[in-house]
Structure formats: C-alpha cells, structure tokens
C-alpha cells in the first residue's frame, strides 16, 4: 500500500503530546459527534504498491482502442491532432504542474505572464480584444456566454442554430432552465443555418443568438450574415469556433460577432477521452466587465518593473459572491498553457498552413468518398476539416465492418440528427494521410457492397447510444 504521509510513531507521540490529547481517536471524537461517526472501515479494496497500481491501470487502458490502435476519423469537437513533444515536457514541469491559482503574484509571475500571453493569442485568433484566461471546455463555454448575455441585457430568449454542437445546445438548455431563459432552435437548410428561420426567430426579447462555425456537420456558416440578422435586436451574437479553422476562416471580430468561444483541445491538448482540455472565451470591449473567469493584466511593481496580476477580480465569486458574473473558480490553466505554447509553436505562418492542409485533404476526402457507389455528400457547403456524408447502407453495420479492419470511419449522425439516419460525420486531421483516406474510401465501398447496395440506408439504421 502506498502512503504519502510521513508521521513516524515517535512523531505521532510528540505531536499528540503537544496538542494535549491521548490519541488521534480522541481528536476525532472531539471533532465529530458520536451519532454521525462511521463505525466501520470504508468498503474499498485494500491499498496496493505503486507497481501493482500501475499494472492494474495499464490493463484497464489496454482494454481501450486509442487513435494509436486504429486509424480514426472521429471528430465532432475533439480531434486526433498531433501534440508536439515540448508541450509534454512543459506541462509536466513541477513549476507549472503543481502551483495553485496565482493569488500571490510576486511568486506567480510565470503563470500570470503565461495567462497574459494566452489571452493575447486568443485575441489574435478571434480578432476580439478581450479574452479571459480559459474556461472548462467548449460546450460549457457556449453556455457561459449565454449567461453573459443574460446579465448584459436581461432578455428572455436564446436563439440557437441546429448546427451548433448537440452537447452545446443541451448544456445551454440545462443551465438556461435554471435562470429561466427560453431556448429556441433554428433548423438547418442545405447543411447551414436556415437564414430565413434565423431572421424570423430574432426579436426584441432575444437575449443572444448562437451558431457554430464550421458547424457540427462541418459546413462553413456565413457568420457575417448571421450576425447582421441580429443587428437591430438586443441580442448578443455568440459564435462557437474551431480554433484551427480560424487560420483561414473569417474571424469572429471581422464578422460582427460579440463573443467567440470554442473547444481548445486541438491546440496542444490530448484527447483524454474528452477532458481535461480548455474552452476559450473572447469578446468585444463592451463585455469586459461581464466576462466569466480569471483575467491576467499587466502592471508594474513598486520599483516600476513590469509585472502581471489577476485583474478585474470584482467580477469574480470570491469577491462579489452572489452578484458575481459567474461561479467559476478552478478552470483549466495547465491546459491553456498547452494551448498558448501550441500556438507559439505553430506560429504566424504555421496556423495558416495547417488550416490550408486540412482544407485540401478534406476536399480530397470528400471527392474520394462521394465517388463511391452508395455514398453521397450530405451537403455541398464549403468545409474546412470535417464533412458529412449519407450512406446508402445501415450505418452501424458499415462502422462495424471498417472498425474490424482497423479504421474508425467517423461518427454516425442519427443519434444527434434523426433527420439524417444514414449520416456519417468524417473528420480530417494533419495525422490522416492520403493513404489513410484512400483506405477509408475502399473500406466504405466494401462495407456498403457487403451490406447489399440499396438494402436499407435510411431504414436500416439502428439507434446507437451516442446521443
């Protein structure tokens, strides 16, 4: 059994004597009243030594199929992006891994400056002047932006595109029910937000409008047009973005978007079965004092030397309590560190080149797949790094067929979009080569043929558990 305590029997005797009690039991008896004491041991397995714990955890991990074990075209918000080795090194340094929140700035200049650099990088990426130092992750970042809008204009309705990530829509509904704001969903047309339905849904009671770009089906939205439609309403315009696509995609700040949020995992963070990663959150100057989360600011010390502090803390729960702009306390500093180091590593040219690489390979993959008998593009909108197709065969059977041959072909859409029972969402990363895309096309062709062309498709789908 491993212990991380260091009290020897002699220590214990001296310590108890100093306290003036006979035993640790006496200490607890004086602390906890008898009726609520647990009169037995916890029913947990006995402790183990380090090597046995390692072996057990290794066995559990070996029961998973990771992106090292198969060629994965899964995306839908998290991507098998390459994490450069220097990030592993920096994120495991004691000085970055083990401090608390920088409440004592004189001995936290490293973290505070990193937060400041991160904020700068996110402001550049989004073309918005105000960024916080990160929130939990993507979908809850979108929901947090909704709360900002509610605080800012106190209106009663949110309007969200059906192209937003299903997890974002659901998270927004969960939290909005608490503070009593209604959520209205706008359908898609030809793979993108229906512009007429969008315009019709916005009125004087609209607190915020939300879309995702590229949207969940991989289609690029006309963000400027979506934002313009809300121009004469009180609505805060909120966009959830893919940060890599922003290398080439019209930036939120260029399109009239007020708040840009998104999932930061693909910026130097591991998949980790969904977390921890970080969410980015940037806004126009107007919302500076409604921002959730920590913000680092530049200042000077008593000698006039440059330094950094946590700033605008009167927004935050530990100062403002029930009038805080958010309840967030612990967030994702270490993951955001990975994010800013990744963006520095990618660099000014690199982010454009990487986004272009994804654009080209995605175009190739779309062409290659849509040439297969029994596969059609679900939409023909521009796509940067992910796209949806419709299979003329039972999707789960096709996925099983490919998976058995070492390729995970992507995400079946039916559990998320019942209107697309034959839908499959395919994601491309810089780690998916032309050969792997070719292999995917071949396997899909075989699988569809094996299922018997025209033998079901839309009707043959069995609902999976991936909602």
């Amino acid at each position: 059994m491993s212990r991380y305590t260091a009290v020897s029997p002699e220590d214990r005797k001296e310590m108890l004597a100093a306290i003036g009690v006979e035993s640790v039991d006496e200490l607890f008896d004086r602390l906890i009243p008898a009726p609520v004491r647990l009169g037995r041991d916890l029913e947990l397995p006995e402790g183990m030594g380090e090597q046995d714990v390692y072996a057990h955890l290794r066995d559990l991990a070996a029961a998973n199929l990771s992106t090292e074990d198969e060629v994965s075209f899964l995306g839908a918000g998290m991507y098998d992006s390459y994490v450069p080795a220097l990030i592993d090194m920096l994120m495991s340094r004691s000085e970055l891994l083990t401090p608390y929140t920088p409440y004592q700035p004189e001995v936290s200049q490293g973290n505070l400056q990193i937060m400041f650099e991160y904020q700068t990088a996110i402001s550049e990426l989004t073309a918005l002047p105000v960024s916080n130092a990160s929130v939990y992750e993507g979908p809850s970042a979108l929901a947090a932006a909704g709360y900002l809008a509610k605080l800012a204009n106190k209106k009663s309705r949110f309007v969200i595109s059906r192209g937003a990530h299903p997890h974002s829509r659901e998270t927004l509904r969960t939290v909005a029910r608490g503070y009593g704001v209604e959520v209205v969903e706008v359908p898609l047309r030809d793979g993108v937000t229906d512009p007429d339905a969008w315009a019709a849904a916005i009125d004087d009671e609209t607190s915020a409008v939300f879309f995702q770009n590229p949207n969940f089906l991989g289609a690029v939205e006309d963000a400027a047009a979506l934002a313009a439609a809300a121009k004469d309403s009180p609505a805060v315009v909120i966009g959830q973005y893919d940060p890599i696509a922003l290398g080439i995609l019209a930036a939120p700040g260029e399109c009239g978007v007020d708040v840009a949020v998104g999932e930061g995992q693909q910026l130097g963070n591991r998949l980790d079965f969904g977390g921890p990663s970080f969410g980015f959150f940037a806004a126009t100057e107007a919302y500076l004092r409604q921002m959730p989360g920590r913000i680092a600011g530049e200042t000077t010390d008593l000698d006039g030397k440059r330094g950094f502090v946590l700033t605008l803390q009167t927004r935050e729960q530990h100062i403002r309590r029930e009038r805080a702009t958010s309840n967030i306390c612990t967030s994702q500093a270490l993951n955001a560190l990975g994010g800013v180091v990744y963006l520095a590593w990618l660099g000014r040219q690199g982010i454009v080149e990487l986004a272009d690489l994804l654009l080209q390979r995605t175009a190739y993959a779309r062409e290659r797949l849509s040439a297969v008998e029994g596969i059609e593009l679900l939409h023909s909108q521009p796509a940067v790094r992910e796209f949806a197709v419709t299979l003329d065969a039972p999707v789960e059977a096709v996925v099983d067929y490919c998976a058995a041959r070492g390729v995970n072909p992507g995400l079946p859409l039916a559990p998320y979009y019942e209107e697309h029972p034959g839908g499959l969402l395919v994601a491309i990363t810089e780690q998916r080569t032309r050969e792997e895309i070719d292999r995917l096309a071949e396997l899909l062709a075989e699988a569809i043929a094996a299922a018997g062309s025209g033998a079901g498709g839309a009707n043959g789908h069995t609902a999976g558990a991936l909602a």
Binding site: R3, I19, L27, A61, S66, G274, T299, L411
Partner: protein, 493 residues
C-alpha cells in the same frame, strides 16, 4: 540572466519568418483556396501569432516556470485548497496511450477500459460519500455546485413545488452564493453562532417552505465540524428542502464520517483537492457529485451503465434528467489520477490521510500556541480544529502595525507560500491555514519558526514586513491601476 529580470512576452521575441512547426505536405492534388472556401468566408488578416524557433519557445517557458512558487518545491499551506503531494505515478498512468489518445466518441466496444474505470471510481466515491449514485461529469467544484442546485430545482419541480431561496452560511465559499444566483435562486445568508457553527435559531427562522436547499461545508471554512449537524439536517428536511454538502473540506473526514450519514442529499468532491489532481496553476480539476436515491432520477446524462453481459455502456435514457452540463463525459484524465490514488491508498490509507491531515493541523496550531504566537494571532473559533484553522491577525495589526497581508508577503521571503488570507470574511484579518497530511513534522516546525521570526522582526522594524517581499522576482504590484486601466493583451505591431 537573472530570474528577477523583467521578461519579454513570447510576442516580443522572435523575428519575421522564424518558426518551429514544419507543415507536412498535403499529399493530395491541391486546388486554389478560393475554390474551396469563397473569399467572403475567408479571413482578411491572419492572426499575428509569434514567430519563434523551438529552442526559443523552450527557453522562454522554462524561464517563466522558474518565476513560479510550486508545491514540489515548498510548503503551501493554502487553506481550503488542500495542497497535498501529487504522486507522479498518476501522471504516468494518465499518459498511457489507451487513456491519453482515446477519443471521447469512441464506440463502447473500444472504450471498455475507460468506462470500467469510471464505473469503479463512481463506486468508490459513492462509498466515501455514503450516497449511492455518482455522476463524474462536472468539471470543477463550482460546476458540481451548479449541478447540485439544478438537481434541487428539478426535484422540487417534479413534485409540483416552486421554491425561490437557497440558504448559505456567512462562512461559505464564494462559489456557493454565486452558484445560487446562476441557478436562478435568491441567496439567504445564515449567521454563525459563537462556537463557529450554524446559528440554529437563525436557521429555524429562515428555513421555510420557500427554501429549496441549504448549502453547507462540514467541517466548515473555519475548520470546525458542525456538532449540530443532525439538528440542522432535521430542520432543513422538515422544511422539505435539500441538504447540499460542499466537499471542499472532505480531506478532514474520510473514513471517519460520511456526508450521506450526516443527512446530506447531494455532495460534490474536488478531485483536485482531496484526490491529488495537480492544481496546474488554477486547473484542471473535477467536481463529481454523489446523490441520494430521491435525487438520482434527475442526474446528468450520460450515465455509465453495465449490461447483463457485463459490458459497460453509456446510458442516455433518463427522462427526468436535467441533461448535460458540458461536452462528452467529464475530465477523464482527472478520473484516472483519482482512481489510481484510491487504489494506492485503499480504505486504510484514505482514513490515514484524513487522520494525519487533522493531526498535522492541530499540531501546527498547538506549536503556534506554545510559542506564544496566539497573543498576536489568536485562533478565531474553538479550541481544536479539523484539517485547517483560522487565525485572526487583528491583534497583530493593532500591536505591531502590520497587517495579515504584510505577514503573508514576508513569508514569501522565507520560501513559504502564505496561507489563504482575508477568508473567511467574518474573521478580521483572517489567515486560513491547511498544512495537509503530506507534510513532515519538521516542515511544520520550520513554519512555526518562520512566523515567530517575522513577528519578532516586526516588533523591531515593522517596515520590513510592510514593504515585503524583498527577494521575489517582482515586488508588490500595482493592482489598482491594473483594474482601473486594464491591459489584458500584448499590443502587437
């Protein structure tokens, strides 16, 4: 270059054209960008990211890291934060490719190990809490609180009741009242009695049928276990309300008492406090919740389930669920670390951790008394403490002319991270001290000597503390100007 020299940011380094990333060739026939992405959907100005080489990046961030104080280097008695040792085994197992490179939408057939780990962790946390059902989803303590209050709302509404208020003690963490507002309730404060517990008369007067919930930390933020907990539970339940346990201080009581046995309906855990997830400079953490039978129908989806064939799966079919609070399944990497910790320690080890946490805190308190420190820094409430205790710096301020802030800043010169200061709010000039179980007696003794030395020095020359720190990379910083004229990003040319 000395570490005390002011640092340029990464945006002020580098030269045009310099880079670290080498883009792989696309390997596919390329088409003009405009054909694939119409010009009006393209970015006008590319983001002005740094232009730096890999060696420059490494040196920049390694140097910055050295301008941090960290737990691996020194004592960090930050009250309510439980800065205990972070075992490196946990980093190793979290980084196994089967965990680190596992996609969250991997089919259940390909994620059995992860689902089993989550299921086993849920079982262990349920046993520790004394409550049968667990959701691992929330990302942090405050996220768990939000889950808890939204569950409370769902519970009452399902019974056809509309309640408007949530009670929080005046000693509560700031996240409690902030959460209550976000969940659409009104905060009603409950006072503290002279022993440092809930004022029962105040509670009786305010616990009416309009109250949805009482949020309580026990031991509370004064480090004291509320000895009236049974009476509190009975008053709250008598009003038809829910009792919520803020698990920030769970490190005091593991294996000794359980929130469920005290009458709590909902508990959140801070995996980054009690269960060793490294704090990372402010996160990541995780805030799983455990709940009683009556709250279970409303828990977030998806839930981890096990079929008759023994296979693990995700269950989305929970009609009364409040839904999701975030994407995917929560901070899985944190679950791996927590599970490794629980399997390392076992029942006996977890109990030992809490025992030594309480022993260390009481020893530190006793040693400070022995040295006469309590004349200037008296214990705010009680005689003994749980895993942490609160001193008041008010007499020190009066006698020596130095504030709690000055004492804290002078500790930095002694290589010690100061305790939490000015919290809880009801104690004047508060210092909240939590040594944790992983510190040695020698470290605690040194900390006592440090405080004695600072107080002795301040008697002779208070100016040294008032202008401290003197040995850190920067001296006291101008926070007022930073807030008045915020500069929150680098100007880039």
């Amino acid at each position: 270059m000395s570490l005390t020299t002011s640092q340029e940011t990464i945006f002020e380094k580098g030269r045009a054209g310099r880079r670290a990333f080498v883009c792989p060739p696309s390997g596919v026939p390329e088409r003009p960008r405009e054909e694939l992405l119409p010009t009006h959907l393209q970015r006008q100005a590319a983001p002005r990211l740094p232009e730096v080489s890999e060696p420059e990046i490494v040196r920049h961030y390694v140097r910055l890291s050295k301008r941090n104080f960290d737990l691996d280097s020194g004592f960090y008695p930050l009250g309510s934060c439980t800065m205990k040792h972070n075992p490196r085994l946990h980093e190793r197992v979290a980084a196994l490719p089967g965990n680190a490179r596992l996609h969250p939408l991997q089919r259940p057939e390909g994620s059995q190990g992860a689902l089993e780990l989550m299921s086993r962790l849920e079982g262990a946390l349920a046993e520790i809490a004394g409550l049968p059902h667990v959701s691992l989803q929330p990302s942090a303590g405050s996220h768990g609180e939000l889950a808890g209050v939204l569950l409370t709302r769902a519970y009452h509404e399902d019974r056809g009741e509309t309640r408007h208020k949530v009670l929080t003690p005046d000693t509560a963490h700031g996240t409690n009242p902030a959460t209550v507002t976000m969940a659409g309730y009104e905060v009603v404060k409950i006072g503290t009695d002279p022993e440092g517990g809930i004022d029962l008369d105040d509670l009786r007067a305010k616990a009416d049928e309009d109250v949805a919930c009482l949020m309580l930390t026990n031991p509370n933020t004064l480090g004291l276990f509320d000895r009236n907990i049974e009476e509190i539970a009975s008053i709250v339940h008598g009003a038809g309300a829910i009792l919520y346990y803020d698990g920030a201080n769970l490190n005091a009581v593991m294996g000794r008492t359980r929130p469920g046995d005290m009458g709590f309906d909902i508990v959140h855990f801070n995996l980054h406090k009690t269960f060793t997830q490294p704090h990372g400079g402010g996160g990541p953490g995780a805030g799983p919740i455990a709940v009683s039978e009556r709250i279970e129908p409303y828990l977030m989806t998806p839930r981890v389930a096990r079929g008759d064939d023994g296979a693990f799966a995700l269950d989305f079919e929970k009609p009364k669920s409040i839904g999701r609070l975030r994407g995917f399944h929560g901070n899985f990497g944190t679950f791996v670390r927590t599970y490794a910790y629980i399997r390392s320690l076992g029942a006996e080890g977890l109990k030992d951790a809490s025992e030594v946490a309480v022993l260390n805190a009481n020893y530190l308190l006793a040693r400070l008394r022995q040295e006469g420190v309590d004349e200037l820094l008296p214990l705010a409430f009680g005689e003994l403490c749980g895993h942490e205790f609160v001193l008041s710096g008010a007499p020190m301020k009066r006698e020596l002319g130095i504030k709690t802030l000055d004492l804290a800043k002078r500790m930095l010169d002694h290589g010690v991270h100061p305790p939490t200061v000015y919290f809880p709010l009801l104690v004047d000039e508060a210092l909240l001290i939590e040594p944790t179980e992983t510190e040695t007696k020698e470290t605690l003794d040194e900390f006592v000597e440090t405080i004695v030395e600072i107080l002795r020095e301040a008697k002779e020359d208070p100016e040294i503390a008032r202008t401290a720190p003197h040995t850190t990379p920067v001296r006291r910083l101008d926070e007022a100007t930073a807030a008045r004229k915020p500069v929150i990003r680098q100007a880039i040319t």
